[in-house]
Subunit: 225 residues, 2 copies
DNA sequence: TATAAATGATAGTTTTACTATTAAAGAAAA
DNA sequence: TTTTCTTTAATAGTAAAACTATCATTTATA
């Protein structure tokens, strides 16, 4: 899986490839645990260095700053989702079934436990839910976008748009629908945990299932109307 | 309008009521201009103090920190939208028409130019689009929520949920639908400006109209299915 | 006019987000 | 096996951010 996923990631995301060295892999693995624990705002390179027994200066040789590291982690997640989707849909002829599978994977209701990697995927997903918006809600969006840093997300969205159009070629807002669904998947999960009156998830522990039901209902109602 | 809006805002949002004093109103007015200009991350109390000819220490007497100030500004916006909605829907019998009006106001395609206040509403809306998520995407969500800081947003959402249920009382995900629409309204506008491949807004200048069309399509397709 | 409250001026602290320098360690090449 | 290159560690330092504290002064209020 590693060799399948790694080369996909834009090499501008980092200064030095973190997957290529021991320290680099420690940075990735431990940053996921730390950000999940303290949140992105409280997360600093200094703390991370302490956790892995290294120094701030060394970390700066891998990532320009912590924001870039976040973009890297989130991109890794999108690439990983995309891989899972391709794996589970590549020989499914019915586009509706494929879209359903996609939604399952995106909400993580359908989880792959098989190929576990060196990083804690569940923790990474929590990070994506709580922090992914911060990758683009900055003044530097346009500059960052120009460097292709949001490629993984766009590729995932494009794959879904293709299926949407296969189901309903006349649907006039495929891009908006897909990005709304992708954003909503995370937001609804976050709301279920923290602002439950904004969601419809009666059971916090099974929030992912409720969100999946909602999104399925939403998407298929819109596309078959 | 001021007297209608002001008392609605949770008084825990601030340390000293900014609407009650000259300095307070300057803080609100100028912070909207500054945040719109430099973005929330680059915005500091020091810069704001310089802009209004005051000092950092004085600003800290009004707001605990810049995050609370952002929550205040965003809450003001939600309260203001809610006021507009009530004004424009209070004697409209058809819930579908009311919902349509609500969506128009929420996307700001339908604008009220009449009651202009001491703050730049267009700038505030840009702030809401780009920064509102940051009001709840923090480690302190739960604590902040306990203090009722998200009340205005929830009230707005509740109003919309009521109309949704009036149109389709059997619809199983009214809260999720409404919060998805509210979030999507902002996100799609942001995407239209910065990541256009994630939106369906051919004309950047008229993004609000495209977003409104999309949301109307989405909501009524889902509710009448 | 006395008194309280709000603001301004000034200064100081801690933390963050870096950058720079030099030394040590390890790997690869000669 | 020595030389050379690259990577990391250790240490130190800077500028700015995010506050807090103190006290003088202005402004409002009783």
């Amino acid at each position: 899986m590693q060799s399948t996923l790694r080369p996909e990631l834009n090499d501008k995301l980092y200064l030095r490839d973190p997957q290529a060295t021991d320290l680099g892999r420690k940075i990735i693995g431990e940053s996921v645990r730390l950000i999940d624990e303290v949140g992105f705002e409280q997360f600093t390179f200094k703390k991370l260095a302490q956790h892995i027994g290294s120094t701030e200066a060394s970390l700066y040789r891998y990532f320009e700053n912590k924001h870039r590291l976040l973009v890297y982690l989130v991109s890794w997640h999108w690439a990983w989702l995309r891989y899972q989707i391709q794996y589970h849909t590549h020989n499914v002829p019915d586009p509706a079934v494929r879209l359903r599978t996609m939604l399952g994977i995106v909400t993580r209701a359908h989880q792959d436990h098989a190929a576990t990697t060196h990083l804690d995927e569940a923790a990474l997903y929590r990070i994506v839910v709580a922090e992914a918006s911060k990758t683009y809600l900055t003044r530097e969006v346009d500059a960052v976008n120009r460097d292709g840093f949001y490629r993984e997300y766009k590729l995932l969205a494009a794959d879904m748009v293709a299926v949407v159009l296969e189901i309903n070629p006349a649907f006039p807002y495929p891009h908006a629908l897909v990005s709304t669904v992708l954003e909503s998947a995370r937001k609804q999960l976050f709301f279920a945990q923290h602002l439950p009156s904004l969601a419809d998830a009666p059971d916090k522990a099974k929030a992912e299932d409720s969100v999946l039901l909602f999104l399925n209902h939403l998407v298929f109602a819109v596309l078959t109307n």
